[in-house]
Symmetry: C2
Subunit: 81 residues, 2 copies
Amino acid sequence: MKAKIIITPKKAVLDPQGKTVQTALDHLGYRGVTGVHVGKYLEIDLAPGTDRAAAQKALDAAAHQFLSNPVIEDYRLEIVD
Amino acid sequence: MKAKIIITPKKAVLDPQGKTVQTALDHLGYRGVTGVHVGKYLEIDLAPGTDRAAAQKALDAAAHQFLSNPVIEDYRLEIVD
């Protein structure tokens, strides 16, 4: 079982890294890109037999408390088999 | 239309950031975590009416050539509506 956490800057927050990638793509000839958001991706391997609901709850708390910065970032947590 | 690119270190490559998160989770009492991999996440907004196949091809090239480092990183590209 795995947990996937995607952490992205909130839409209202400046994303200079995303802006840089967007400019680079444009300079390299990739047209049609209207925006780029750069975030973090965490893949967490869970021991076999871990309780899904408990893992979801614990990792949701971890993501909120110290993996992301809730003031400027959003996160999505997904548990997959 | 959006493209999502997930860039992760190859399994054989040392991932000190992942190791640090794993240790931190353990210290904070989250048991059952057997591994953590930290990567990058890019969300690319595409102009409406962009050709899906062409975007897939162009972004695949971009991901391979300069968004990721193919020596030490893997990437997954997904185009969603």
